[in-house]
């Protein structure tokens, strides 16, 4: 097997502002070229922190990062100056959750894409503009020529997110980070944007890390899903395995909490309780306080992420897959 495109090794992130908070705890992720990973979890589980750490977007003064990040041969945590600028947007780029907030309001969409292209290569203004316009056409923005000269506030939310994707892909990144790219959009537009992302991924062959709290969206685009809880990955497997044979009680709970036609008329199954305070994590498994199967050991020791046949789970009492039990 060739070296993976992305590898996070024992990545821990601590914010030390007024309060200390452990946002990520010894996270390991590997991602091959062309692979799509869905990062699934509720608010505060460390999904967005993982993406932002991959681009080194956290303020350096108040963030402590441990571990190792390798992307396409770069030692990301050691990048500096121009190399870091080239890496950002060139090797790895990001689609933000709120396209309305992620564009500079006083420059046109076209100017911003053109600027990003010129920041990454010796391209003339005219060539960069042509390339930017081509990108807008590629993300299927109707009347791209007119939208090119529009300011962000003049576009609808869906259009803005398409423009954001055009901007993110303008420099042919090898890895695209999508931070809940459809959360801020209408339901109908969500599906269009998801389909567009999947289509572009297949065309370009880039890898994607897709963060979401919506299992439906993750299933739609991802090859593999990693479930995060309180800054740790608790389960990781292919989409099929996660959906058919979830093993971690948290994943089981999440799957039970989805709305589906077969549960019509029954109350929604929610995971009881709330996620733990990241400033004071319990000594054992973070999910133990909310877990129906928690034992003494769960409260004492953090379960390691153990992989078996490509299906990894961090739990002392995982649910037994049906096939194995028989």
């Amino acid at each position: 097997m060739t070296a993976p495109l992305v590898s996070l090794q024992n990545l821990s992130v601590q914010f030390c502002g007024n309060r200390k908070a452990s946002a990520l705890n010894a996270v390991n992720i590997e991602l091959g070229a062309g692979e799509v990973l869905g990062l699934l979890g509720e608010s505060g589980s460390g999904k967005s922190v993982t993406l932002r750490t991959l681009l080194r977007l956290h303020p350096e003064r108040s963030t402590k990062i441990q571990g190792k990040i390798e992307v396409d041969g770069h030692d990301v945590l050691a990048l500096k100056g121009r190399a870091l600028d080239l890496y950002r947007g060139g090797t790895v780029s990001m689609v933000f959750q709120e396209p309305g907030l992620a564009f500079d309001p006083v420059y046109t969409i076209g100017q911003q894409i053109t600027e990003a292209i010129r920041a990454h290569g010796a391209v003339g203004e005219a060539a960069a503009r042509a390339q930017a316009l081509h990108m807008l056409e590629r993300v299927q923005i109707p009347q791209a020529r007119r939208r090119f000269d529009a300011y962000p506030h003049e576009l609808s939310g869906g259009m803005r997110q398409r423009a954001m994707i055009a901007l993110a892909l303008a420099c042919q990144p090898k890895l695209l980070l999508a931070d809940e790219p459809t959360t801020a959009l209408d339901a109908t537009v969500q599906i269009q944007v998801l389909l567009l992302l999947r289509e572009l991924q297949r065309e370009t062959g880039m890898s994607v890390i897709f963060v979401t709290h919506d299992i439906g969206a993750a299933v739609e685009v991802a090859d593999r899903i990693a479930v995060m809880y309180a800054g740790r990955i608790v389960e990781q497997a292919t989409v099929g395995d996660i959906v058919r044979t979830p093993r971690h009680p948290y994943t089981v709970g999440l799957l039970a909490a989805t709305v589906g036609a077969e549960h019509r008329g029954q109350p929604l199954q929610a995971v009881p309780g709330a996620p733990p305070d990241l400033a004071a994590l319990p000594p054992g498994c973070s999910f133990a306080p909310r877990c129906a199967h928690a034992s003494e050991r769960c409260r004492r020791e953090v379960p390691p992420l153990e992989s078996k046949g490509g299906h990894a789970v961090a739990c002392w009492h995982p649910a037994q897959p049906v096939a194995e039990a028989a």
């Binding site: 681009l55 870091l84 990001m94 006083v106 990003a116 990454h120 420099c171």
Partner: protein, 317 residues
């Protein structure tokens, strides 16, 4: 855009008109009679009457206003009672001196304020930020006539580097671009620049610090833009607000600080106003106030027109 400018211009007309009413009427509210200043105390009644009708002071106030406005529109603001010279000429000469002083003070104050504010905003919470904040607080709270006196003592008496009075050698009020005249400009301009410097510093600091927390700035970094390129984005986003605040400050400076111009005997509008008030020189006072108020109106108009050129969210919808 053209329609927007036209709309702004039309809005400016009633403002300008009310300014003329206020500057004309306010002077009549003040106690004192201009004739006391020129006629001897024991002048016979006929002489007083003759003088009154010569200056048009015997007519009812609204008629006086009408006549005054008619002439003012044609550029004639009457004759100064004290000096006998045309008010328009006196005011224009004072205005050009004040413009020079205010321009220099504004240039210095806004430039230093922007640099200091941007530094503080970028280094939010560090010692640089604290130093800049202290400087700006001192800047806005120090009484500037007092600062003028202190600077005079320091740099004109103890260290004889700069002259303490006037706009040029020998009390000349004609401005020339030579070192001798420029040396006269240094102390008053420095004194006047302190307040706008403080206000601009505070404004820019708050804006920049807030801007750097915005998601779009994170997004700019995620695109791989260099620090310089990101600064350009931050600057363009803060510019409209800074411009509005700076415009207001420049407006105040144009008014010519009565106190600072008096301290330095600078032959500007503030100095002129001071003289006109003490001599009860009504035409001169009215003319000066009118011209100063018009400056404010025009300056605000300019800011209104410039802002949407920088910020596309205004005016284009």
């Amino acid at each position: 855009m053209f329609a927007y400018i036209l709309k702004r211009l039309i809005y400016a007309i009633p403002i300008a008109l009310s300014v003329t009413v206020v500057s004309f009427v306010l002077v009549y509210l003040a106690p004192g009679d201009p004739l006391n200043a020129i006629a001897p105390a024991d002048a016979p009644e006929e002489v007083i009457q003759a003088l009154k009708s010569a200056y048009g002071l015997d007519k009812p106030v609204p008629v006086q206003y009408g006549l005054w406005l008619m002439r003012a529109v044609q550029g004639d603001l009457g004759t100064s009672i004290a000096s006998g010279r045309a008010v328009t000429a006196e005011v224009l000469s004072a205005v050009s001196n004040t413009l020079l002083l205010a321009g220099m003070a504004a240039l210095g104050g806004v430039l230093v304020g922007c640099v200091l504010g941007a530094l503080a905003g970028y280094r939010h919470g560090t010692w640089i930020d604290r130093v800049a904040t202290v400087i700006s607080v001192i800047g806005v709270s120090i009484p500037h006539y007092w600062l003028g006196l202190v600077l005079t003592i320091l740099f004109s008496i103890w260290l004889p580097w700069f002259p303490a009075m006037g706009a040029g050698p020998g009390g000349s009020s004609e401005w020339l671009w030579d070192t001798e005249h420029l040396r006269h400009l240094v102390l008053p301009a420095l004194t006047l620049s302190v307040i706008p410097m403080g206000i601009i510093t505070r404004t820019v600091r708050a804006l920049v610090a807030d801007m750097l927390e915005q998601e779009f700035v994170t997004a700019l970094r995620a695109r791989g833009l260099s620090g310089v390129a990101i600064f350009r984005h931050v600057a363009k986003n803060t510019a409209p607000t800074v411009l509005a605040v700076a415009g207001l400050q420049i407006g105040y400076l144009m008014g010519g600080s009565i106190l600072v111009e008096t301290v330095f005997a600078w032959p500007g509008t503030g100095f002129l106003l001071n003289t006109a008030i003490f001599q009860r020189d009504i035409p001169l006072l009215q003319g000066t106030i009118l011209v100063l108020c018009m400056f404010f109106v025009v300056l605000n108009l300019l800011v209104d027109i410039l802002q949407p050129l920088i910020d596309p969210r205004m005016g284009r919808s």
